[in-house]
């Protein structure tokens, strides 16, 4: 347990270092390529350099960067002059509910589909389930978002997180409003994710159903549904849970695309805008947050698996 934590912390450290070097080492002067003022006068460039400590040696810069990081200082956004940390935190708060709803939905639909597909393996019912799962897994996320937009045009809100012209100021009205705006993005996320979960579940179930203890359970005279529930499912959930937890870290990719289509003001959208606007501090900040979240979820997955499988002793 301790070993895993140490590894996670080490990875975070490597990630932050990488974050730092990525922007200094890539071809093209970071400031010239990414700064919001592409045709700045030499004085302005010099001023910017000084402001971001780029006139010091790389080693000094690195230390400065680390020190600032520890103080929670991620710089100031070029676009709106606000502290990056504030923007990023706000964006994170916006992303979480949408992603949570979508993920929970995806997990429920995915596992159910996977179990059914495994149960009906060989018959058309299993093939249909598997094929639809593959299809939704294969379609580009942003395309699915656009298709849903077109399908529900006029019925559900097409962008943003809330209606700026909402008259009723009450908490319920506001929540309902956000809820309505959240429907399509969450649905898109759920559809995009569930396919992979269904396939994983199906695989794990088939693997489990072929194990000896399932034969033992059958020999004991247990009914098929009981065997699936009490023996196969419980054991199949082991790899399924880990794989799902692992995939959560990579949720960010889908989130970026979905948030962009729906202009949902979350961390993904913030990253996208940082790229478009060449907002270098924001880009660095969002990237760091996204990396740390992946590491965090990987650690979670590891711990979860160790907790669930009694064969792994600590």
């Amino acid at each position: 347990m301790l070993k895993r934590l140490v590894f996670a912390v080490a990875t975070v450290f490597v990630a932050t270092t990488l974050n730092f070097f990525l922007f200094r080492v890539l071809p093209g002067d970071a400031i010239r390529n990414l700064a919001r003022v592409p045709h700045a006068s030499p004085q302005l460039q010099a001023e910017l350099r000084k402001q971001f400590g780029l006139d010091k040696s790389p080693w000094e810069q690195y230390l400065l960067y680390l020190r600032q990081l520890l103080h929670g200082n991620l710089g100031i956004s070029f676009a709106d002059q606000k502290p990056v940390i504030d923007n990023v935190m706000q964006a994170l708060v916006n992303t979480l509910p949408m992603v949570l709803v979508g993920t929970v939905l995806a997990i429920v639909i995915g596992i159910a589909t996977g179990v059914i597909a495994a149960w009906w393996r060989g018959s058309w019912k299993g093939s249909v389930g598997t094929s639809t799962a593959i299809f939704f897994y294969a379609v580009p996320t942003q395309w699915l978002a656009l298709v849903l937009l077109i399908a529900f045009a006029g019925v559900l809100p097409s962008h943003g997180m809330s209606d700026p012209y909402l008259l009723d100021d009450s908490w319920t009205a506001h929540t309902l409003d956000v809820g309505r705006h959240m429907l399509l993005p969450s649905l898109t996320l759920a559809l995009t994710l569930y396919g992979e979960y269904a396939l994983i579940t199906r695989s794990a179930m088939l693997e489990t159903l072929g194990e000896d203890y399932v034969l033992t359970a059958r020999a004991k005279g247990l009914r098929p549904r009981v065997i699936v529930r009490r023996h196969a499912l419980r054991n199949a959930m082991l790899p399924v849970t880990t794989l799902i937890a692992l995939s959560l870290g990579y949720l960010v990719a889908g989130a970026i695309l979905i948030e962009t289509v729906f202009s949902w003001p979350g961390i993904g959208f913030a990253a996208y805008q940082a790229v478009i606007q060449r907002d270098y501090p924001m880009l660095q900040g969002t990237f760091l947050v996204l990396t740390v979240s992946v590491i965090f979820f990987n650690l979670l997955a590891d711990l979860l698996y160790a907790w669930l499988d009694p064969r792994i002793s600590e």
Partner: protein, 317 residues
């Protein structure tokens, strides 16, 4: 009146691309109450398939014909068989790691069939489980452990305890000692014999290990290439085998008390995806006759309770 009667059992496994393996061919034998019968043969001879067929546990790739009569009912039907599983016929697999569910405690797996079949309260079931564990020679506290925490021998005993949970009439043991070292083997065999005596259990012991059968069973059914070679009292099979395969099988078994050298049987068993003309053993037989390669041998009754599928049965081997 036989407890279990197998009549003309045939099992086919379909392979990919239309072919099929005829894994069990016209197998017939019977098991009386309290009787101890050994099903012997080399790996791949169909004995495991036969035992799976007995309890209708074959996979969807299989097809069967014939009858498996338990107290008059034909068990070759999922619904009928399920009613008898564990209650009347219980199975002990090789206590390999995976025969037990690795993420559940031993005790929970022991009480599971009791709760389902005998509708007892959980407490009563747990008590009984502890009794059973002690009966097979493990401490009752072992029940709180997970399968991987037990040694091979203990796992095998636990499997035995689990099989006895619903007081079955027949105990089928599939290679119960193969994965164990000889000391533990002997203990397990003693245990099985003792239980069979004390509880009046009929025993069907499936194994490739002849000495085991000689030790525990009174009757043996020798299988070759999915079909019956010889079936009869163990002592008679040893002293006056009526089938060359039985004779050679004994000759190939090392015996600590005997100075003779071990002779292995040359050749390999035939493929089961093509029809076999004549006797399946003929290519490897040292006393094959002309008829052996052209026509199937008859099932000869040497004496009541003793049959052999050989052209030479009843005469010199």
């Amino acid at each position: 009146m036989s407890l279990l009667q197998v009549r003309d059992l045939n099992v086919w496994y379909s392979l990919g691309e239309g072919g099929e393996n005829h894994a069990v061919r016209d197998l017939s034998f019977s098991l009386d109450p309290g009787q101890r019968l050994g099903l012997v043969g080399e790996s791949g001879c169909g004995k495991t398939t036969a035992l799976l067929a007995l309890m209708a546990l074959l996979p969807p790739t299989a097809s069967v014909s014939g009858e498996v009569l338990f107290e008059g009912e034909n068990l070759l039907n999922e619904d009928i068989a399920r009613g008898h599983r564990w209650r009347d016929i219980a199975l002990v697999f090789q206590g390999a790691m995976n025969a037990f569910n690795p993420v559940r405690r031993i005790e929970d797996q022991l009480i599971e069939p009791m709760l389902v079949h005998k509708s007892v309260a959980a407490d009563a079931a747990r008590n009984r489980a502890r009794e059973l564990l002690e009966m097979v020679g493990i401490t009752a506290s072992a029940g709180r452990r997970y399968p991987h925490e037990l040694s091979g021998g203990m796992r095998q005993r636990a499997m035995l305890a689990m099989a006895l949970a619903c007081d079955p009439k027949i105990l089928i043991a599939d290679e119960p000692t193969t994965a164990l070292d000889s000391m533990v083997q002997a203990q397990i065999l003693q245990l099985v014999s003792k239980l069979s005596d004390e509880l009046g259990l009929a025993l069907l012991l499936v194994t490739h290990d002849l000495p085991v059968v000689s030790q525990v069973c009174s009757q043996a059914v020798v299988m070759y290439a999915g079909a019956l070679a010889e079936s009869g009292p163990v002592a008679d099979l040893y002293h006056r085998p009526q089938h060359p395969y039985t004779r050679l099988l004994y000759a190939a078994t090392p015996d600590l008390h005997d100075d003779r050298s071990v002779v292995s049987i040359p050749g390999v068993p035939p493929r089961l995806d093509h029809p076999i003309t004549g006797c399946a053993f003929a290519p490897r037989c040292d006393v094959a006759l002309a008829e052996c390669t052209t026509s199937s041998p008859p099932t000869v009754q040497v004496e009541p309770g003793w049959t052999s599928a050989c052209w030479r049965a009843g005469g010199a081997q």
